[in-house]
Symmetry: D2
Subunit: 351 residues, 4 copies
């Protein structure tokens, strides 16, 4: 009930603070007999690892995952899979000055008021570092999906106000920003440079696509597939909006344009984003998440200290300029977790 | 697990089909000793009742709610509150011709493939009529919130591509569309007329505002308050997008603009939409839901019949032109349910 | 979380008070496409209906069940099944004098202190009448089990200190007490007569047997099949003890006697009661529930009134002398609900 | 849903196999601001540690617990508390010969059939070693209870057919068996010696008492306090029966004897075991668990091998003669977890 568990059959519980000894995830409900090797998980973790690149935090974390249970001789056993990632490069002292001050746009103040106490080191549990555990668990979910020929891929469709004009899937792995439009990727990098020099930050939009999903996933009425995807993505700290298929544009067009005609070859369009009445319809599932700019900026901002006095703050430390691209594998992970759970939920009632 | 339950402490389970004998909700976890009268619920139900107005279905449903349990001498007892609404004006025969054909934009096909069977009468469980039970339960949640000085109001901020240019809260009750901008309301009504004549339909955007919410509601990391609100709203059939505060616009602006500066008088702006790190921050909570056009249109559309043959369909029957305004109280109800649940969840860990 | 829901896949929520307008159950997660007729449920309800017999309450309740949703043209649709039973013979006035006084052995005092309010009429939610909803839901679970060739039967193995000396299953339906030993049944009836004349009450032991259960049901570690069965049975108001297989006797014998040797033909004995390490082993599942004497007796007892003053009480009204035999179908129902849920839970992880 | 999580507000998920690298527990929902030091947990773990004594396994496990998250500067933060215990003395090879054979009384066969795979080393997840994680989590629950002046103590009331004849609470810590009757403890030790020499094993009965529990804990109808206690205790591998208060004896006596009269000074007797209608009544909560003999015995037994052929087995390895006394702190832990959860559940609905 305290909110650190996601899923009902494929159920994940994460734990860990940014500057504690470790963070991890426990997966309960993974089907037995599935091949699982740490390298399967490491691959996804490496995608969110901070790199040398311009827009990213210079914090060095090998983020090496260990499997502590639930796997025997390379196969899952049906018992809980415990994953752990030790924190190695946590420079807690760099955050000491933040103990007395609330960073705008962060959860410093809300955490303190909710719990009456907060681990201020690196944002504690509110740190984006928490998502490493999600990515690790998501990699296991991805294997469950792969066994059912479902694949999930996420990519950047906008960075600040620079949008992609096409989705060339082959380009995604060719640039650091996971952008399916090489020309846009170049503009995005330039924009990152400009923003970094100004000491500011920026956000963007991530699109996630799931293909191969069978018809029938999703549980009306409250656990509609799109509803749970919305929760899954909105639960990522930086996400402020989620839309499915035509999304907000569907609110502007007429029914005759928005409806996807049904033909013997399938749906003629995919404004539904692959989900009808909360149930997957066999078309690719398309979801987008709006990512806000990283709140840690080196520009001066107004805020309060612990004594409720107005102070100025410039947030230093090792921060990314944008949650993109590191949030991209996190979005992927959350969609993988959602789909794996619904795949197993559907099996419970099928013959 | 089958998805008809929402909430963890204030827990609601709904049931019922559009053309079955009745529909209802069971609320488990409502605090005891609270005054509750059927009229408290009826008031909200009346807001979503089909009216005589231009854009709405002429179906007549008194939607009279009865309380079957959990209330004794006008007070809640802490035991489950069972609410029932009998279906009185269900003209099932009007739907007989739809038994053999899949309506585009509806869940006909996905329901059939998921369950291997479907109640085709009026959309069965996938009918918007299902939301009557949500509104009934939401009215009880609203009372829980009112006892804690929290109030929730929803209103129309766009109908098709007609947007409001101001939010004059006093106007909301002065027009049929719950629009906080009388000038826009007039344009919206004209647009509805045009679209109805064309046999088409339209959507829009609903904004929901919660005021009086204390700091501290929301459970990191997966049950962040915004994440659960996103699920809550996206679980309404017609909703295809949800955003909090600045929402998708946050993805376009810089961090220095998006961050809400903290002053001794409170946050200077509210781009966060009242939620920071998944926890309410004391500011008004602002959420928007994108509503797609109603898929039932009288224009001819391509689809398939049960034999997988291509056919043309014109959906007749008694349908609204737009889910707005009837979806407005449904959005309110879902936000009430979410907040009441999180209010009680927070109490469990507070001293 | 408020405790009126049972099961995780086959999930039942019950509601209703003894003297409210009705009571009922909502089943969420019943597989679609299963034949279900009200008569399937009525059959089980009739087994717990108060009869004319000596030991039973003379209250007349036809206990006619109605199916309000989730069934279309005789088949389950996969959506929630709402069951309702109207209360027709509730003589609330007979309980008015109990408003000011706490009956020993009942939940009057604990309900009042927990909730700060209580529906005193007939025990409100704490009445044994609440179990009618369980029996109704259990009948649906029984159908799910029957489709998988699992059957569940309960019977009386002791009434007060009169125990059965054999289990002749054919005798169960031949006597009013569901006793598998006709000779013992005669002694039990005599005992009931004696106790009734004394104005006292008595309890007994119910045994439940499930046959045809496949190997593999039960979820280690906390949701072991025996653990959930224990919860299921102990959740019946009058039950004060539960044991599986050899049960408490297993605590007295040595390992060499208690272990069930494994042979090519199966287990040589069944001290395990069909469950090993929390998982069904294919043998009949054997559980016993200890039922306390009904607390309502016409003998004078010491208690308090609302003003905390000592008073004497003789509980009149229409009461059974023993919860047996009416509790027998309730035990059956709880075992059916548990097994149906675990059957579906297992399907979610099987290939 | 896979059963490794217990509790709804104070929610514990355990993981780990007997011979994996580690085992642990994640506690989600512990109230913030509570002092918590590893030594608080270690104290309870030490009570279940294998000792030098006659009846216990000579396996050496320091069972040193580490807190990996959720505690900051000695106080709980409200975020998940991750506890880990590394396995250090796991001699897996000692179990290699058991890979091909099913031990009677163990879960070897049921695990294999349920999951299609099993970690045979030391019983894998089915090992009693799993309970170390429960004891660790239970120690945290105990602190939550202590802050509310509730204390829980367990003790041995029977070992095989040697029963205690008195409950002298001061004696509990004076003998290795946690027996509140020193004379009985001597007889029990003699019995253990006899049984060990015969190569056999034995069980017994553990009683758990909780004092200081306020009136009002427990959630009717399915989550009655006694129902959840029954699940909690029955979920311990060796437990085959659970009873509350008078328990099975209540089935034998008359209502006039079983009812606890209510007086201005409280209940005159405590046959209810501190729970009425599923809700704590303020009296000490008394529960008993029947513990079966340890199935691993060195006497020859009939069983099957992987090829379904009949074979003889003598189980060697390092095993206890009886689950008592090491199961005593496990019973305590499960009761602590149950009460802490219900304490917080009750807070959610209280004013």
């Amino acid at each position: 009930m305290a909110g650190n568990t996601f899923g009902k059959v494929f159920q994940v519980t994460t734990w860990g603070e940014s500057h504690g000894p470790a963070l991890g995830a426990v997966i309960d409900g993974c089907p037995p007999g599935m091949e699982l090797d740490p390298s399967d998980i490491q691959k996804d973790l490496d995608k969110r690892r901070p790199g040398r690149g311009g827009g990213e935090s210079p914090r060095r974390e090998p983020d090496q995952v260990e499997i502590l249970s639930g796997v025997f001789e390379g196969l899952t056993t049906g018992t809980p899979i415990s994953l752990i990632i030790y924190n190695e490069d946590a420079q807690s002292k760099a955050y000491n000055h933040l103990q007395q001050i609330f960073r705008p746009g962060h959860g410093d103040l809300t955490y303190l008021k909710k719990y009456g106490i907060r681990d201020h080191r690196g944002g504690g549990r509110a740190s984006a570092r928490e998502t490493a555990a999600r990515v690790a668990a998501g990699a296991v979910a991805r294997k469950v999906l792969a066994e059912n020929d479902i694949s999930v891929i996420a990519y950047t469709v906008a960075l600040g106000d620079v949008a992609t004009s096409r989705r060339n899937m082959k380009d995604i792995t060719k640039n650091r920003l996971y952008c399916p439009d090489m020309a846009a990727a170049v503009l995005m990098e330039e924009f990152i440079d400009t923003v970094r020099k100004r000491g500011d930050s920026l956000g963007g939009v991530v699109e996630i696509q799931a293909t191969g999903c069978p018809v029938g996933l999703g549980e009306p009425v409250f656990d509609k597939l799109d509803a749970v995807l919305a929760q899954a993505l909105m639960s990522i700290g930086a996400v402020k909006g989620v839309e499915i298929g035509a999304g907000f544009r569907a609110a502007e067009i007429l029914g005759s344009e928005n409806n996807d005609a049904i033909t013997p070859k399938g749906y003629r369009t995919n404004n539904a984003g692959g989900i009808l009445a909360g149930i997957s319809n066999g078309d690719p599932i398309i979801v987008r998440a709006a990512v806000k700019p990283i709140p840690s900026i080196s520009l001066e901002q107004d805020t309060l200290n612990l004594d409720n006095e107005p102070v100025k703050i410039k947030v230093g430390g090792r921060h990314d300029i944008s949650a993109i691209p590191r949030i991209v594998p996190v979005c992927e992970a959350m969609v993988c977790l959602t789909l794996a759970d619904h795949l197993l939920r559907q099996k419970a009632i099928e013959n």
